[in-house]
Amino acid sequence: MVRETGERFVARARRWALDLPPLALLTGGFLVVLLVSGLFGGLREVDTDPAGTVTAGVPVETEPLTVTVKDAYWVTAFPEAADSPDSPDSADSADSDRRIYPDEPTRGRFVVVEATVLNTSDETVDYDVLREAVSLDGAQGFVSTRDTALVPAAQARPTYVYTMPEKRIFGTAQPGVTYTVAYLWDQSAAVPLPQRLTVAVNGHTWREDTLDFHLGWKDPAVEATGPFAVPERRAS
């Protein structure tokens, strides 16, 4: 008997819903989404702030990093002047293990962006976030870390991120410390570089992971972009 009542109720509700005008249905659906999402803290706010501008030497303040892009260029080996007589260790040639060995790009060209990075948060920021802080756009033929095929610049992650001049891996950024760094993207030399390449600075959001509930910097989003001429730099 309970089942029969239920079926009759469903049938009546269906007829009622189908008889409604489409506008009322849309409004009703919208209200349901609003009310249900309200129970779980509301829909997430969409960041509608326009992206800022990246200019050489001007700091871009994002969370958790303040990034100042200094220079952009391309090389066939990094660092390009590893054995130049200016290097502080060339006088001490006996200690040859202290020289900096250059990296060779796998497809002929490294696009390099030099920057300073300051961690303005209260905790150490790790490699994943540091690596996503600077990205490129507006060029093709980049080597992807996931894919064997070449990808557009916007999808490419830097192959290496080094602190300079000692060329260590930029694996941690401690709070309140400014680092001089170089981001290296591996690009095919067969693909021409455009006159100007877009350099983007990305910010992150501090939130709980939806799977393991640990807090972290997530969701990289473009905070500022700017066009940069990318000339070749040779060892002098």
Binding site: I100, D122, T163, E166, R168, G171, T172, P175, G176, V177
Partner: protein, 204 residues
């Protein structure tokens, strides 16, 4: 439809369930919270073994002795290009002897006097980090931990060393005070060079 008449024992069970829930609730309020906390905090916080320079600190899985804590602005390491900083490197020289299993010290974390946390691990080869071998039980390793931090975090700061790379919760960690106050923080280690060294004692 008629509901069955409850028996007296049903009330007893109900009361027990409610009492159990109430006890759990009050225990939850009383004990350190595990919810909403990250690794190694709240109810999962580590057991901190405070120590001083030169005296062994007994941890669950081995013995750790901090030999020296120094400040430096240049860091030298065999086979690597020297690193300099505008801030300061906190350099901790220590020995580590695991007891029953192979083990190492994987994390050095400086709690700044201003509530900032500076963490360096044995993973990667960045400017700072923990350089420590992985000795078998009973063999002593010489290790160096380096944490780069701004000078304003130095007064009142302490360094914590842990054997667990990801989650130090519910385990022993060793803590030593850096011994820097506001008066000395400006000059601590300025212009000095520290050497990162590691190895096994008695095996070379």
């Amino acid at each position: 439809m008629r509901l069955p008449r409850p028996r007296r024992s049903t009330f007893g069970v109900g009361a027990l369930v409610v009492a159990g829930l109430a006890v759990t609730q009050s225990l939850d309020a009383l004990l350190p919270s595990a919810t909403g906390a990250d690794f190694g905090t709240g109810a999962q916080r580590p057991f901190v073994r405070e120590g001083i320079v030169g005296t062994p600190i007994a941890l669950r899985t081995g013995d750790l002795t901090v030999k020296a804590v120094e400040g430096a602005t240049t860091l030298e390491e065999s086979g690597a290009y020297p690193v300099t900083t505008e801030a300061v490197f906190v350099v901790v020289h220590f020995t580590w002897k695991p007891q029953r299993e192979k083990g190492t010290i994987a994390v050095a974390e400086v709690a700044g006097g201003d509530d900032r946390v500076f963490r360096a691990t044995s993973i990667g080869s960045g400017r700072d980090g923990v350089t420590c071998p992985f000795p078998p039980p009973g063999v002593t390793a010489e290790c160096t931990a380096v944490v780069e931090l701004p000078r304003d975090a130095l007064p009142g700061a302490s360094v914590t060393l842990s054997t667990n790379a990801i989650d130090e919760g519910l385990d022993d960690v060793a803590r030593v005070d850096l011994g820097v106050d506001a008066a000395t923080s400006g000059s601590w280690g300025r212009g000095r060079t520290a050497t990162v060294s590691s190895g096994l004692v008695g095996l070379s």
